[in-house]
Each structure stands twice: as structure tokens, then as C-alpha cells.
């Protein structure tokens, strides 16, 4: 009798990505930061022993993701993927030092596609592993964060300083801190304004049947405008305004720069917040509202004591989406002179220096993950007891 085997498709996808990365170039040795350079494969880059270890770890993932899914597999697959990451990070640091020995001072070691595809594969596998660890919180945290933690430690002790991206960083250190803070300011301010405007708009839409349609029409339509186009529109609008009313220019509102960026980012953050607030309040059990009114609560008391707490989880979920989305969108703001991490991305594109692009892009990803984590905690804290799964 043939046994039906249902492989873990997500883990399998990640593993195949990881295995295919073995054939790609891992490190690129360049005579200078803009030159093409020579590609090195896995064993040329990291050495034979490391290559064997990584291949073996991927094979473990392959076998486990083909078999029946069990929770212990989740742990094993997750740990393997993290080991691959840790091994890669450590060895890339070692290898870049080794490869640069005897080379000219302007020579660079860049990360190749093999490295990036390995990262993607490993995190796909980790994502798959997390799904099997819902009831094992410690393992879940370990599997999610250990690779990233080792990476952070290696970064801080200078282990990876010889990698080209870090060389770029050391050249732009001050600028980096400045643009990082600017990035946080931009998405932070626009997310906050979006929340302050969006929640009342959502509530208004539930209360007024004439408000509902236009509110959603406008917020959804704006969402479909490409960010670049919206920035462009705002530049035109704001320069016209500041030309007409010079007082605006005095308080810092001009066609380019921070003002249009914050306005555009705020507009984008409205839809998730308005929509979730609307749905959150609409979803409150009408019987609970009827009971509240029938028992003698005022309309305001029903809102404050019944609707707000019951809608809170969904509203906060909308705020989370808005913030995470804003982290990414803020990158584009650099194009109109608002600064932020996008500055490195567009400068990198301009100079045809891929490592500079990466210097901007990677922190954006990490920032998004961090903001997501923080906001998830906020959602959990904002969910009243009795509604959450924790209530057991």
C-alpha cells in the first residue's frame, strides 16, 4: 500500500531556493567598488568544509519537509535554517578578510546572489517552521530571532567590516545615522497623523450613512495611485500653494522636501486605519449594543464601554498595517528630497553602486520587521481579556 505523503510546501520551497543558491556566486571580488569583478562560488568563497556543512543542513531541511509534518520537525527545520544563517554570516566575514589579503586597498568583496538567495530560502523555511510552533513560544522565539541576533552581534563587533556593504557604511556612517533617524521621523509622524485622522473618519463612516461611501471611495482610490505619482502631484500642488501664500514657505512647506512626503505618507496610511476602524465597530454584536441601551446606558456609554473595547483589536491591527506599510513607502520619499534611508538607495542607483543600494534597503527591511513586532505587541495589549486566545 502506498502511503500518502503531504510535504510541507512552504518549507520545501525555501529548501529548494537554498539548494539552488549553492550553484550561484556567493562572493564577488572586485578591484574597486564600481568594477564588475570575479564571481566566486560557494566552496571558493567559504571553503570546502563550510560548503559541505551547509549542503548537509539543507539536506536535513529537504528530508524533513518532504516527510509528514510534526512539531518536532518544525524545531529541527527551524534550527537547521538558523545554523545555515549563522554559519554563512560568520564565514562571509572570515572569507572577505581572507580574500582581501594582498589586494589593493580599494578592492572590495561584495555579496553575490547566492548569499541573498540563501537568506531568502532560510527565512522561508523559518516562516514555515514558525507555523508548527504556535504552542511552543520559547522555540518559536528562538527559531525566529537567533539568526538575526547573531547577525547583529557580528555587525557590532566589526566581524563583517570587510564586506563591501559595510565599507560603504563606514564611509557614510554619520549620514547613515542621520537618514535612519529621518526615516523613523517620517513614517512615525505620518503614521501618527494617519491614526489621529483615520480613527475618527472610520467612526464617522459607521455613524453616517452618507459619509460611508465617499470616505471609502477616496481612501481606496488614493491607495491605487503609485506613490511616485502622488508625490509628483503633491509637489505641483504644494509649490503652487507656497507660491501663492509665501507664509507657507516660512513654516517649511514647499513643493519638495518633508511637507509633501508627510502628506502623501499620511494619505496612504488612512485606508487601513479607516477600513479597520469601520469594520471593527460594525462587527460589534448588535445584541450587545441593544442590551447596553436597553439597560440604561447612554449612547456615549455604549460607545465608550462596549464598542471601543470590542473594536480595539481590529483598529490596532489597522494601525499596525499602516505603520509597516509606511516604513516601506518612506523609502520613496528620498526622491523628493525628504531624506530617509531611500537616500542611499537612489544614490546607489545613480552611482551604479549595488552595495550602497543594499545599505539603504536592508535597514528598511529590518525596521519594518521591528515595527511589525512592536505593533503586534500593542495589538495584543490592546485586546481586552475575554476576546483573545489567551483567555483559557
Amino acid at each position: 500500500m502506498r502511503r500518502m505523503i503531504s510535504p510541507d510546501r512552504v518549507a520545501l520551497t525555501g529548501t529548494i531556493l537554498g539548494l539552488s543558491a549553492l550553484l550561484l556566486s556567493w562572493l564577488i571580488l572586485k578591484p574597486n567598488r564600481l568594477a564588475v569583478g570575479t564571481s566566486l562560488n560557494l566552496w571558493e568563497s567559504l571553503g570546502g568544509g563550510a560548503a559541505v556543512a551547509i549542503v548537509l543542513l539543507w539536506l536535513v531541511c529537504l528530508v524533513l519537509s518532504l516527510g509528514e509534518v510534526k512539531r518536532s520537525h518544525g524545531i529541527a527545520v527551524g534550527v537547521s535554517a538558523n545554523l545555515i544563517l549563522i554559519l554563512t554570516f560568520i564565514l562571509v566575514g572570515l572569507a572577505s578578510n581572507r580574500l582581501l589579503q594582498g589586494e589593493a586597498a580599494i578592492a572590495r568583496v561584495s555579496l553575490g546572489t547566492g548569499f541573498w538567495v540563501t537568506l531568502a530560502g532560510a527565512y522561508t523555511v523559518i516562516f514555515a517552521a514558525r507555523r508548527h510552533l504556535d504552542d511552543r513560544r520559547t522555540w518559536r522565539k528562538l527559531v525566529s530571532w537567533s539568526g538575526l541576533s547573531v547577525f547583529a552581534i557580528l555587525l557590532s563587533i566589526g566581524w563583517l567590516n570587510k564586506v563591501s556593504v559595510m565599507e560603504e557604511f563606514s564611509g557614510y556612517q554619520q549620514r547613515f545615522v542621520q537618514e535612519l533617524l529621518q526615516h523613523i521621523r517620517l513614517f512615525g509622524i505620518s503614521g501618527a497623523i494617519g491614526t489621529v485622522i483615520g480613527i475618527p473618519m472610520g467612526i464617522w463612516a459607521t455613524r453616517n450613512k452618507y459619509a460611508e461611501k465617499p470616505v471609502f471611495f477616496i481612501t481606496s482610490m488614493v491607495q491605487t495611485i503609485p506613490s511616485l505619482a502622488l508625490f509628483g502631484l503633491l509637489i505641483a500642488l504644494l509649490s503652487a500653494l507656497s507660491f501663492a501664500f509665501p507664509v507657507l514657505r516660512d513654516i517649511g512647506i514647499r513643493g519638495v522636501g518633508v511637507a509633501p512626503a508627510i502628506i502623501a505618507l499620511t494619505i496612504y496610511s488612512l485606508l487601513p486605519i479607516v477600513r479597520n476602524t469601520y469594520v471593527g465597530i460594525r462587527k460589534v454584536d448588535p445584541a450587545a449594543i441593544d442590551a447596553g441601551l436597553g439597560m440604561g446606558m447612554s449612547r456615549w456609554q455604549v460607545f465608550r464601554r462596549v464598542e471601543v473595547p470590542l473594536a480595539a483589536p481590529l483598529v490596532l491591527e489597522g494601525v499596525r498595517t499602516a505603520f509597516v506599510q509606511a516604513v516601506g513607502l518612506t523609502t520613496v520619499a528620498a526622491l523628493i528630497g525628504a531624506g530617509g534611508l531611500g537616500w542611499f538607495v537612489f544614490r546607489g542607483i545613480g552611482q551604479a553602486a549595488p552595495d550602497l543600494i543594499i545599505l539603504g534597503a536592508i535597514p528598511v527591511i529590518i525596521l519594518a520587521v521591528l515595527v511589525d513586532g512592536i505593533m503586534r505587541t500593542a495589538v495584543r495589549l490592546g485586546t481586552p481579556k475575554g476576546l483573545g486566545v489567551e483567555n483559557r
Binding site: 445584541a287 442590551a291 446606558m297
Partner: protein, 367 residues
Amino acid sequence: MIRLHQITRRYEETIAVNGLSLEIEKGQICVLIGRSGCGKTTTLRMINRLIEPTSGRIFIDGRDTASIDAEKLRLSIGYAIQSVGLFPHMTVFDNIAVVPQLLHWEKKRIARRVEELLELVGLKPAEYARKYPSKLSGGEAQRIGVARALAADPPIMLMDEPFGAVDPLTRERLQAQFIHIQQEVKKTILLVTHDLDEAIRLSDRIAIMESGRLVQYDSPEVMLSRPRNKFVRDFVGADRALKRLSRIGIKNFIKPAATVNVNRPVKQVIASAGSYRWLWVVDDNQRLIGWVDRSTLAQSASIKEAMDEGDTGEISLSDSATLREALSRMLGLGFKCIPVIDDGQRLVGEVALGDIEAATTEEEDRQ
């Protein structure tokens, strides 16, 4: 206590309630019944002003409700609904405490009251007070809903199908408990239902409504024996004689039963049994344990050997049962009479089929 005077409620094209007048006496349960859309819920909701009447007036203790602040009015009226509407983010304790809190009771008084109410509805305070509604069964939630409505001890209760959302077995238990609670609290209650059996079981008076109008307002007995028109006759159904039996307790129909102690010698029993064919067998404490056929007695050495043992819960009735239950039990068991026991399982007598028949024909004759 509650007086509705010529109440009308219009919705654009339709009239939900049409010139309805109704009076509910203090301490009575009035059940509003009718098909869905007949205006019964609208009527109920106009009493605590969740819906305002288009015209007409409602008086509570002689005061026009329109002159009372709506929220104050509602705080003084208990309100329980079919979907219960417990607040899922509040514990059972906080749910029950809502109205007392709105009335700014002291904390200690609220705690005492919640405990009292949980006990009244038969739920252990220690076990239930801290639970969240998502952890309650349907029956438990409905009982909490009733407890919440009773929280501030309002003289009036409005209940919209309060036992609607549970299975029939639980519903019957809740109704029995409700009758029991009402005997203790003596509220003036207006209850909406579409379940005629529930209405007959719970009400002092039934108000039947049809398309916004009151058709008949009478005690269940009168409603069943003298339906005013075809609509009411159809509504109460062809089996209304049977339904009426559920309004009559068996208490007045209990007759002394032929019993025999299980330890008595067989010969003595045969000699003294008279003309009875069946004898109920009891133990030394007068507790019913079975029955015996006199014809088999002669061939047996002891009563224990000759008797049929039965689950006493199955073959007997409690003395608080109704004639309808007695009849249904008899038909089920194939008995012509059925023993009645008290709370302590002691045999108090029996009810005979012939007497039930007599009771129904007597009623028919009176019509």
C-alpha cells in the same frame, strides 16, 4: 402597574403596532405572543422607549413614560433578550454589575448583589464570577442574562424570547427555574415569545397579537377554552384541550393509592388487597420501589420476587407536575394510573386516567 393606551407605531408605509391598549397588573407575567412581524417586540421595546410610539401613551405606576428621562427609565426596568447580548470583554461579574455600577452603588453592595443573583439563577459564584462569556454554554449565558436584568432589583422586567436560543431540554429547565425565581421575586414581567407552550407555562395572562393589533387578552385557561375568533383558535391549535391540561396541577387529582410494604408476607397481602389488581410496592420509608400484579402474587414466595422493579423517576410523577405530564406519562407507560411522589421520593398517592378525562369533559361542558 403598566398601562398601554392606544399605542401606535408607524414605519413609513407600514404600521407595526396599531392602537394597542393593554394593562399589566403588578406581580404578574404577561406574555405577548404572535407570529413574527406581528408587532410584539416593537410593543415591548416601546415600554422602555428603545422605540418611541408614533402616538398613544404608556403609563408605569400612573406616570407617563414620555415624561421620564429615557435612560433613567431604562435603569429602572430589567431587560433580557434572546441573543442575551452579554458583553464579551467583561467577566460574568462585570456583566451583572453593569446597571448597579451605572446607578453608582457601593462596591461591596455590588459584590454582594452579584453573588446573590448568581445563586438565584443556580450558578456557583466562586466558579462563574470570573469567567468570560465565551466560556459559557448557551443555557448558562441566558441565565446570566436574566441575572443581569434583575441586578438592580427593578420592579418591571421586559424579556424578549429570553429562552429562545437554547435547546428544548435546556429551555424547559430554564422555564422551570424561571417560575421558581418569579415566585421569589414577584416582578411585573412582560415577556415576548412565539412559543405557545412557553406562554401557557409561564404566563398569568396571554396577549395574542396579529398585524399590530391585540386580538385577545386573557388568562391561558380562558384563551384555550374560549378562543375569541378563528385566528386565536387556529393559533392555539386543535390540541388546545391537551394544552389546557398543562395549566392544571395534579395536586387536586391525587387519590389514595393501594400500597404494600415490600417486607409483608404474601398471604397477608392477598387477604387484605381488596379488589385492586395492581399494588405499589414501597420500602419501610414509604419510598416507591416498584409495583406488583396481584395475579402473580399468589405463585410467589415473597413480594420482592413477584414485583416489577422500575426506575421510580420513570414510573412516577412529582406532586408539582401537571395533568398533561401525567397523561403523557400514562400513555408512554401504558398505565391507567400513575403513582405520585413528593420531594423525598415518598409515595403520596396516584392519579387515574379516568379522572383526567373527567376534568376535560367538565371543562367542555362549561363552554
